[in-house]
Amino acid sequence: MTDASPQTNATASQGPQRRSMVKSVLKSPLGALSVLLILAVVLTALFAPLIAANDPAAIQIFRVNAAPGDGYLLGGDGSGRDIFSRLVYGARNTLLGTLIAVGVAAIVGVSAGLAAGYHGRKLEVGASWLFDALMALPAMIVLLAFYQALGASIHLSMVVFGVMLSPGFFRLTRTLVKGVKNELYVDAARVSGLSNLRIISRHILRVVRAPVVIQTSIVAGIALVIQAGLEFLGLGDPGTPTWGGVLQSAFENMYVSPQAVIWPGLAISITVASFVLLANSIRDQLQHGGPPARLPKLPERRSVFDRQAEADVLLSLRGVKIGYPGTSGWREVVHGVDLDVRRGEVLGLVGESGSGKSQTAFAVLGLLGTGGHVLDGSILFDGEELLGKSDEEMHGLRGKRIAYVPQEPMSNLDPSFRIGSQLVEPLMTAQGMSRREARAHALDMLGRVGLPDPKRTFNAYPHEISGGMAQRVLIAGAVATYPDLLIADEPTTALDVTVQAEILELLRELQAEFGMTIVMVTHNFGVVADICDSVAVMRQGEIVEQNKVTDLFANPTHDYTKNLLAAVLDDVEVRRYSPPKFAPQEAAQ
């Protein structure tokens, strides 16, 4: 229920969103410019007789290849016709051809994509093959080959070209539909007995709409260029003025009247450019709700810490604020975190997803996601300030004294390289080992983390091992340099329950053996009870409580911690470790 409702809201709010979408595209400078230009071309085509000064077919023999001026705004062509008037009338033919190609492409591609995406397997395989095959054909050559069969009208050629352009729409729609097909709200619609047609038209077309508009705009540009190209080659009805035809005539008289080459090309380019710009500005609106914001200026770090941590504190954070660039300045996700991690202890950093616990951990590593920045505060590691260190300086710590174990084991191994090389490479760069030393050490570590056949794992690719094995590999990679501090970001969340226990056991052993300090990011109090000495609870970018594990479990002071603990009580694992006395009252709340 809670899962489904935001989704439904999202769909329900698409209506107003779309209206504001059109508005915001029109408001962005490039969007407005492109719409204006397209509108200008359309109006030119509609009102050609009013705009053109001369009959586009009228020949004035003394005006052959005439220079611009004197009634011929852009000069005369090789037969003495008014280039400007021919271009104005040419807009008609050009736009019609483009419309035909785009219309055919969209109708064929989108409907086939909907069907293939929604009905799945068999239909999809056949249709995909067919559309892939279409993409393998050089369109220009095919259109040339069919020219005699299709007759002099360029518009029939554009129908064929429309079919050749349909794979783009097909792929796009199929992918989008497959993505949305298994969403809960589509399931719900199916369960409630709506017909497939209704589901497609109500729910799925809604998702497909904006990307299809973008694709349409781009395809319009392609179609226009190809059409002009065919006309330039002399295909099409010679009686109709076209942009490509005007360019051809200019080409034939290029040595006499070179300037005539410029105008038809400009007409084509500007129109095509406005189609692309329109597509880009819609895409920008879709992606960020605005044009990509310039990186906001980094605020001055207000708090200057000239401090020393207590001797037994390995990692000390004060007032750490983390932000990401948003549409209007920095969006702060962590609001001033204070945290002390003592040497040799295991600290649990607990909180629900989005509480900022992982961001805090990445900040210590100096590896925030794209655009992320520590805006303020101080991070002392073994008495040394980390903030303000260059990447090169951080490089001296990462992979030597500070190590990292990620959450999702499979996605944290590069699929294109053997596991061995991914372990050896960092040992060689960070530790300066020779290849042979690094190889021997990596094999040792793989054995140490409990992999039954280190050599086999060393030579395997990531896709050849299981998730649990991959996590052991990543732990081996992290502890291979005997780091002082190990930051583990939910190291067991993605694993099976039985494997979880083994991994925690392994971390506990390694911690005891190497005397590492561990910061364990987790949302699971079971993990905390199992392995941690102390715990810090985070919520909405702030630490609300920090204490020894036993004290915190026995006597949580902050309401949020109490709620968290109460929520965990259903979990069987926790009871096994320390049955808290306050449980009944808290659970009753």
């Binding site: 393998a136 220009m140 095919v142 190590a403 960092p426 760069t429």
Partner: protein
């Protein structure tokens, strides 16, 4: 791997067969006016019937296709209707010209789009914005117009390069290169513009992968992350982009060869289309589909070799 390869090959042969059949039916099915066009207005009905009989287009379509296919399988694509030439040899002499132009163009597209795409992905900011602008401009300027502008500037105005013509590589490598500069420049611009965008996207995707952070956390240097790991993982996407570009360049060559009077497959196609030389058109389509199928299989094999999951099977 062998199974993968044979499946691709089979799919290519299917494609070739279907395309040849469809093309044949479409272009041989509408040959009523051919004799009239070639013989002129003064020809009598008997003349036309005799000529149709001579060309063999008075037979049922299926019979025509059967005999064409039989010939094609043994490398004989029939006679041209407008030139006193057999189709297969004339294709054979023109294909290398087109392939040399398109080959150089693909190579340049690959190099430039990787350099520009990686730069844009890594440096973001100004470099990124400049490349975005180039991509819009490149998309909007049609290659034939760019070709004319280049001729006007470099051949007519500055007279640095020959405006038209083609010299084979074996005759004079230097003149061959000089003749290729302008047509290739006109051809590659839009391809570079669009491919560099896609390379940029692929590199950004690769750099955003989880394993990049993990490798960085283990002390792997930025340069190694970019050139070893990110590029390696972006490579399949880049190769696919190039194979699409190759098809587009083959089409673009038709127009460009016309402008620069280059005796390649493209100009042959344009002439044949305007004159209704159906056997030549048929031959061109089949030849180019074969070329595209071969290139696509090469790219597929390359991609399969790059992907350990496929390679190890």
């Amino acid at each position: 791997m062998l199974k993968y390869l044979s499946r691709k090959l089979l799919s290519g042969i299917c494609l070739l067969f279907i395309v040849s059949a469809v093309t044949f039916v479409l272009i041989f099915g509408s040959t009523e006016n051919v004799a009239r066009n070639i013989l002129g207005e003064s020809a009598t009905t008997e003349d036309i019937a005799a000529y149709n009989h001579q060309l063999g287009i008075d037979r049922p379509l299926l019979v025509q296709y059967g005999s064409w296919l039989q010939g094609a399988l043994s490398g004989d694509l029939g006679d041209s209707w407008t030139r006193n030439q057999r189709v297969a040899p004339s294709l054979q002499s023109r294909l290398p010209v087109t392939l040399s132009i398109v080959g150089v163009a693909v190579l340049l597209t690959g190099v430039f789009s990787v350099v520009l795409g990686v730069t844009a992905a890594v440096r973001r900011g100004l470099a990124d914005q400049i490349i975005q602008v180039i991509s819009v401009v490149g998309f909007a300027i049609p290659n034939f117009w760019l070709g004319l502008l280049l001729v006007l500037l470099f051949a007519v105005h500055l007279q640095w390069l020959p405006p038209t013509g083609y010299v084979s590589f074996s005759a004079s490598p230097k003149q061959w290169a000089a003749a290729l500069v302008l047509p290739v420049a006109a051809l590659v611009f839009s391809g570079i513009a669009s491919s560099s965008q896609q390379v940029r996207g692929a590199v950004i995707d690769a750099l955003n992968q989880d394993y990049v952070r993990t490798l960085r956390a283990r002390g792997v240097r930025r340069s190694s992350i970019l050139y070893r790991h990110a590029l390696r993982n972006a490579l399949p996407a880049a190769l696919t982009v190039l194979s699409v570009q190759f098809v587009a360049l083959l089409g673009g060559a038709a127009v460009i060869e016309r402008i620069f009077a280059i005796p390649g497959l493209g100009s042959l196609t344009v002439d044949a289309a305007l004159q209704g030389d159906v056997p030549v058109l048929m031959g061109v389509v089949v030849t180019l589909v074969i070329v595209v199928v071969i290139v696509n299989i090469m790219i597929d094999v390359l991609n399969a070799m790059l992907n350990p999951k496929v390679r190890l099977q």
